[in-house]
């Protein structure tokens, strides 16, 4: 992987991007410590295609990528609003 296609800026060098972790549902407000600890510390970390937050640093733009952790191939990238049309959930 050398070039990543930013949904806002098009194909850019991978060094312009920063990894932001797996996309996973946030615990509900008031959720117990176990649920919060699970959200903060535990990762799926499977050798297959995963949904991840990525950040285009020069333009401060967060988006979502589907990437194969076994082959390091980027399957697709898309704006976070595709997954969260209502906004809010991050």
């Amino acid at each position: 992987m050398k070039i990543m296609t930013c949904p806002l800026n098009g194909p850019r060098n991978i060094s312009e991007f920063s990894y932001g972790g797996e996309v996973k549902p946030r615990p509900a407000p008031g959720a117990g410590a176990d649920a919060v600890a699970d959200y903060v510390f535990l990762k799926e970390n499977l050798p297959g295609v995963a949904r991840e937050w990525w950040f285009h640093m020069p333009t401060s733009y967060w988006f979502i990528a589907e990437r194969n952790l076994a082959t390091d191939e980027i399957v697709r990238t898309f704006p976070a609003s595709d997954l969260f049309p209502e906004g809010g959930e991050r």
Binding site: M1, K2, I14, S15, S18, Y19, A33, D34, A37, V40, F41, L42, K43, N45, P47, E52, L69, A70, T71, D72
Partner: protein
Amino acid sequence: MGGAVDPYPIYSTRSTLDFKEGLMAHMLELFPFLAEVRMMRQWAGMADMTPDFAPIMGKTHLDNLYIDAGWGTWGFKATPVCGKRMAECVATDSQPEILAAFHHGRFSRFEQVGEAGAASVGS
């Protein structure tokens, strides 16, 4: 001539181009005459990392199951005392005081080991 953790998780052992580029850039700053040297070989392996970069040691909630894992960034120099105290843990079936902070339950209590000065973490 150097090593670090890749900037995002991967199972491929080719390592990432951005890691190699970064390492080469640092080398050329120190030794510009290496500019014409080719990269001959690289090696990458799995690092068993924990959320606070410190190992998990000691008892679990299951009888006769003990954990000694997550040494991905801590040096092998700690191995002798780890072996001694894990042996004590198994022999007495109790968590030795020196291993208390390393119990796997620390994450659900938000009591991470605050010692991220280990190899690869600072770079």
